[in-house]
Amino acid sequence: MEIAADINNNIVTDAWTEGLLFRGFEKMLEGRNPFDAVYFTQRICGICSTAHSIASTLALEDALGVVVSQQGRYLRDFIHGCEFLQNHIRHFYQYTAPDFIKLPEGNTLFETDHNDFRLPKEKNDRIVRHYFDSLEYSRNAHKMLAILGGKAPHNHGVFIGGITTQATPEKIARLRSLLMNIKQFICDSMIPDAYTVAEYYQEYFKIGRGYGNLLTFGCFDGYEKLGTLYVNPSTYSGGRTMKLNPGEITENIYSSWYMAKSETYTPFQIIPEPDMKKSDAYSWVKAPRYRGLPYEVGPLARMWLCGKYRNGISTMDRTLARVLEAKKIANIMLFLLDKLIPGVDVQKEYEVPRSAYGAGLIDTTRGALGHWIRIENQVISLYQIITPSAWNLSTRDRDNIPGPGEKAIIGTMIRNSDAPVELGRIIRSFDPCVSCATHVYSKGNLIKTMQVVP
């Protein structure tokens, strides 16, 4: 991914988020066995593979009319929680922290091309220590995932009905022990470290706001007996919180390298064909919209919509919401762990219907993820995927309305246009699950290209 930005007199006057990797998963899925989608779609993203297995399973359950048992949900949602923790810990330490702290010299991996490091040595060193300590905890989050899911990345456990295997007293005890350690690291290190960074980079509470339109498909919500543990499907715009209506979701390809008989469509309607020769297009990322408007998704949207975080909408607020969410997720997981009953087999023999359709909408690490499946003659006839990063890094639509990431960059004051660190920091606060780079233009001339990592 690349970001192109026009900078005039140290102000970003325009910006474009450009996805430069095309794979075509939706086309590949056509004609395949519907059950295979659960393992197949995980390969969309090795960083958040579990999220796709869950959205895919939900879509299949909707299509097959399968009602999941409560134990099935607890097991599956626990696995989903593991993926949240793995992602949030890695994103904060391996991807966000290097923007603000000085990593040890003498290692090529840690060299930077700017010098905007403001933390006093003692505080900087503490976070550097945690950069390395964190590797154990993110790894252990995946270890928990594998205890119930077989392996990670690309688990085998998540499936129609919940998960393939059962809880045992030994697994529950092991998960509790690993989870308690991870939670302690989040509370004692990650949250204080994020606030330390925030203290020295105060202006980031004022930049990278974007539209302030927030959306969630819901997460750890609507349990039969437990109610909602986190956040219900909802949206926030212009100061108002509303219930989400999935029928209002559309996607368009005005600025994306695709062709279709209609440039705006609903998820069940069209899978556009790739066309890199299309003029005026600049990205492989499409443009999802809700009620025709761009919406931001992710931890800040969720923490805002559940009412637990209302400090503001900005670059730094996204980072704080992410680390605070990690603690919330760990607590939900501890709660779910207590509800697990050993030895409950949630699997049945399922039959592929001749024709059916279903949607799986779920909020995952980076935000709202949707899978839409249509089955004809017992094989997949249409598979639509809208990822969280497509919401956040969406392209301009017909009215030349920028996507949320583009909007967050436009208007930003750049201190030093030779080293515009602001752009990378803003985009990384969205936790884009694609690697990306930034081009900075001044009066039409390329002055800088920056890589923005996932």
Binding site: M28, F40, A146, G150, A152, N155
Partner: protein, 295 residues
């Protein structure tokens, strides 16, 4: 759950191989009997799941690789520098000595324009060009994961981005470590072996025999069920997964003993069938992954 179900002492020795190799290589570097090598890691058309899997490595872990075993010159996800500064580090190695690790397949459609990995001197650099340039000159090339090895899921029909494995582009031998993802041990063990002794013994598909010599089916702890004709009719059962479409009988790799994520579990241990993710032809030739009607 934490121990291998196979008690054969040969298996436990094999499990120690990686840690022994890596620590021996690190010791040799400290004693200056071998040199620390440069490592370039390219993420191409794929999911970045192999670098994440490497971060999941437990014994040895990522820190010992990145800080003690190699000079990690370039990895798009983990490096702190950005854009041209990052590519500068990559291109500075052009005439140097380095080991190249590649994850992801290479898109060949429209001269590689379906995957641009960055910009160098203002021009887009395609994954295709990068593999050509850095692949031919590398001391060794390791393809990490099934996409880089054989095209994998990135080349699944109808192969919309016209993806191929790395070998297709290079006039030299590559070492293939298929698996979706590649197990961190397979990569670290191969890397340490290369540094200590040069190329490990490979099979006809260019995979190191130390990891890929054994058929899953032959060492599967559920093999006795197969022998007695006791088959699972759905996931979640504790018997043989053969009739659900298990690909253990065709897949050569050491999953049943090495397991995943600090050896806590593996797909069949999770009561689900093996889907042959380390096999040539994955996914198209390994589907359907789960079927209830194979009898």
């Amino acid at each position: 759950m934490n121990q291998t179900s196979n008690s054969c002492s040969n298996f436990s020795t094999r499990l120690e191989t990686v840690s022994v190799l890596v620590h021996r290589a690190i010791d040799a570097i400290q004693q200056k009997t071998i040199k620390k090598r440069n490592l370039i890691w390219l993420e191409l058309t794929g999911c970045s799941g192999n670098i994440i899997s490497l971060l999941d490595g437990a014994n040895p872990d990522f820190k010992s690789i990145a800080c003690q075993l190699v000079n990690f010159i370039y990895d798009n996800s983990l490096m702190a520098s950005e854009g041209e500064a990052a590519l500068e580090k990559l291109f500075s190695m052009a005439d140097g000595d380095y080991i190249l690790a590649v994850e992801g397949a290479v898109s060949t459609k429209d001269n590689g324009m379906y995957n641009i990995i960055g910009r160098w001197k203002g021009q887009p650099v395609t994954a295709y060009e990068a593999v050509k340039k850095f692949g031919e000159q590398a001391g060794h090339v390791i393809t990490v994961g099934t996409c880089a090895s054989d095209g994998g899921i990135s080349a699944a029909r109808p192969n919309p981005a016209e993806c191929v494995g790395i070998q297709n582009l290079l006039n030299r031998r590559v070492i293939k470590l298929p698996g979706c993802p590649c197990h961190p041990d397979w990569f670290m063990g191969t890397l340490a072996y290369l540094m200590l002794f040069n190329e490990p013994e490979l099979d006809a598909r260019q995979r190191p025999l130390m990891f890929y010599s054994t058929l899953i089916h032959d060492i599967c702890p559920r093999r006795p069920y197969f022998n007695q004709g006791i088959f699972a009719s759905k996931p979640g059962e504790k018997t043989c997964m053969f009739k659900l479409g298990c690909r253990g009988p065709v897949t050569r790799v050491d999953c049943p003993i090495r397991k995943w994520n600090d050896r806590v579990n593996w797909p069949i241990g999770d009561d689900s069938p093996c889907i042959g993710c380390a096999m040539f032809g994955f996914p198209d030739k390994m589907e359907p992954f789960i079927s209830y009607d194979t009898t």
